[in-house]
């Protein structure tokens, strides 16, 4: 079966199975070279193994919920979409969520995903009480924070075993609305100052106009958000506080040819976004879906880049050098004129975990349609990040070279040692881990 990541650049014929029980899964594990696959929302080849890909769709039951503590126990194939559908009407929301709700709990743990509240609440792993993990011997162990195996599992993209169950703490909310404040920032320094000045905001993220140059380099809209209380809602919305009017689901049914996405189109897109942001200045109430998951409303949006697909670039930069490195990155990007459709800047807080992506500092995420010149640009961006002591997000990676990975990841050697000592290296592996030599 042909599998590929969300960016559609890593197509590969893989043998895929969908075990339904621990015994069936253990038999797959015994074959070696296994990688678990959740919803396939990672952009590259992290959830592909030519010989032995296991689709977690056979494990998607919810097991228990404690409405005193908000702890949900569920199988790893359950998606955040299902969690929200089930528990938001009862007043609970995922405490950490990525920018799409179509991810599985297993995938969220494996990538240790972050949300717009990372600066305050940390990554997904920080909301997990324990996981059940099937190891290379087919045995299932319950591991919790503090256990070294937990630390190595969170963020290492499925390379320590198969996550079967997750105990996750949800967050109590009074409504399904967010109070959103939009702050324009005329350049990068202003955007960063806005983040620093709003460190106590629950959610913060900035959209960057990648084509702005010179004194406007890094022109952005910083969006802050707080969960709205019942009293914040207009009278007529209070009867159904968890059901904001749903945005229309739009389809991108065709594969847009690459030439539609040249600099001009993206310039127009950014201009429109900029104006819309200005018009919506100040505070307004936004439903949870458009606030957290604007892209989920456009079904199959990854097709707008056409057949050749696109690549994501996401790096984390240490706080001390973030300003200079971000400026260098944005300068390269705007000079190349390959304006990224979506460019997102976010402040990261401190991070636990032995191999998690975030680090205290800033993260920049962009995507590029694949065409001539993209590879060279990305190589230049890689060098800036490595020089700054930054690192790359494996959930977005589809192309990093082993040399760049090695230079950016002093942690890799220790992880390799752990994999060997625990007998994990032959049992679990993905096309990505082979490429990166993990």
């Amino acid at each position: 079966m042909i599998l590929s990541g969300w960016g559609r650049t890593t197509a590969q014929d893989c043998r895929v199975s969908r075990p339904r029980s621990e015994a069936e899964l253990a038999a797959r594990v015994a074959e070696g070279g296994l990688i678990a696959r959740g919803a396939g929302r990672a952009y590259g080849d992290a959830a592909q193994s030519a010989a032995n890909t296991v689709d977690m769709g056979g494990f998607r039951r919810m097991i228990a919920f404690d409405d005193a503590t908000g702890q949900l126990v569920a199988e790893a194939g359950v998606t955040l979409d299902e969690v929200i559908a089930t528990f938001l009407p009862r007043g609970w929301f995922p405490a950490v969520t990525p920018g799409t709700r179509f991810v599985t709990l297993g995938g969220a743990v494996a990538a240790d995903v972050h949300g717009k509240n990372h600066h305050r609440d940390g990554s997904f792993g920080a909301t997990v009480d324990w996981i059940d993990l099937m190891g290379p011997d087919g045995r299932v162990r319950r591991v919790a924070p503090g256990d070294p195996l937990f630390g190595w599992t969170v963020g290492v993209m499925g390379l320590t075993g198969v996550i079967l169950r997750v105990a996750l703490r949800l967050k109590a909310v009074e409504t399904g609305y967010i109070r959103q404040r939009t702050l324009p920032a005329p350049h990068l320094a202003a955007a960063m100052a806005t983040f620093e000045a709003n460190a106590d905001a629950t959610y913060s993220v900035a959209w960057i106009d990648c084509l702005a140059r010179g004194p406007s380099l890094g022109r952005s809209l910083v969006l802050l958000g707080e969960h709205a209380a019942l009293a914040d809602l207009p009278e007529d919305a209070r009867a159904r506080p968890f059901h904001p009017p749903a945005p229309k689901r739009r389809l991108v049914p065709f594969e847009a040819p690459g030439f539609l996405l040249n600099g001009l189109t993206v310039r127009a897109f950014n201009e429109v976004y900029w104006r819309a942001g200005l018009a919506g200045l100040g505070e307004r109430l936004v439903g949870w879906a458009p606030y957290f998951y604007p892209l989920d409303a456009v079904e199959g949006w990854n097709r707008i880049y056409g057949r050749r697909g696109f690549v994501q670039f996401q790096c984390a930069l240490p706080l001390a050098v973030a300003a200079g490195a971000l400026e260098a990155l944005l300068r390269e990007i705007s000079a190349a004129g390959q304006g990224s459709f979506l460019a997102v800047l976010k402040r990261f807080g401190p991070q636990a975990g032995a191999f998690s992506f975030p680090m205290e500092g800033y993260t920049l995420a962009l995507d590029f349609p694949l065409h001539a010149g993209t590879a060279a640009l990305l190589d230049r961006l890689d060098r800036i990040v490595v020089t700054a002591g930054g690192r790359f997000y494996l959930a977005k990676d589809a192309r990093m070279s082993r040399a760049v990975f090695e230079a950016a990841e002093p942690r890799a050697a220790a992880f390799r040692g752990f994999r060997t000592a625990e007998g994990l290296a032959g049992a679990f592996g993905s096309t990505q881990s082979e490429r990166l030599g993990l």
């Binding site: 079966m1 969908r18 339904r20 039951r61 919810m62 097991i63 228990a64 919920f65 299902e82 089930t86």
Partner: protein, 245 residues
């Protein structure tokens, strides 16, 4: 508002469970009937947790026709809706030479489901209300070399449902025939199904819910299948017999 219970015959099937979720999501309590029903405890918990409805498990074997009246008497009552998803694809090439296996396929897809739905229909008719959903197959619309044992049994089941509908139309009992094309389930695991013609079990569940609300008679799930089957049925037998399908 409390809604009437839904009895799912074949409660372990992917399509059966997806239908259970769709109807539990609309507030119906669910009774899952299957062989080795106790093994469905995780599904029971999952359904109850997600939808906040009562869910119970019931032992049921569609081949044990003698036990059927007794089975119905052990249920908490007469359901508002019964959905039969019981079925067995078999292995055509092997079953052609194995009468016992072929008979099991025939009985599992036709005799068994028709018998239990017939018994329930009688009780619903007496009550004057209810809905009967039979999951049959497009395979029953024309016999093909690669699956005519299964297909002929589904043809029998489809005809049975049609007759039942005809009989009960004025008795307050709704009969719905579901003719899914390919569905990505345990039954088709490992088969290389064409993406555009293949439905997810959740799509079947949603289609059943809509068809019940809309009092439909026959649904195909993916509309393209109506067209595909119209074409397949229009091919003259003299030509059809020479095709490899």
């Amino acid at each position: 508002m409390t809604k009437g219970a839904v009895l799912i015959l074949g409660g372990r099937s992917d399509i059966g469970l997806a239908t259970a979720h769709a109807l539990a999501g609309a507030g119906h309590p669910v009774w899952l009937a299957a062989r080795n029903a106790a093994g469905l405890e995780p599904e029971r918990t999952d359904l109850a947790l997600r939808h906040g409805v009562e869910v119970s498990l019931h032992e049921f074997d569609v081949l044990d026709t003698a036990a059927m009246p007794g089975f119905l008497d052990t249920l908490p009552g007469l359901p508002a809706v019964v959905v039969s998803v019981v079925g067995l694809l078999g292995d055509q090439a092997k079953d052609e030479h194995d009468p016992a296996a072929a008979i099991t396929v025939m009985r599992t897809n036709y005799e068994g489901p028709a018998t239990i739905l017939g018994l329930i229909a009688y009780r619903m008719e007496a009550r004057g209300s209810g809905a009967i959903v039979g999951v049959s197959s497009v395979a029953g619309l024309r016999g093909r070399a690669t699956n005519y044992i299964y297909g002929s049994a589904k043809a029998g089941f489809t005809a049975y449902l049609s007759g039942l509908r005809n009989r009960l139309a004025k008795r307050g009992v709704h009969v719905l025939t579901v003719l899914p094309g390919f569905v990505d389930t345990r039954m088709t695991a490992g088969m290389d199904l064409p993406k555009k013609l293949t439905a997810a079990p959740t799509e079947v569940g949603a289609a059943v819910r809509r068809a019940l609300e809309g009092q439909r008679d026959v649904v195909y799930v993916k509309p393209v299948w109506r067209l595909v089957m119209a074409v397949i049925r229009a091919i003259p037998e003299g030509v059809f017999k020479k095709l490899r399908l």
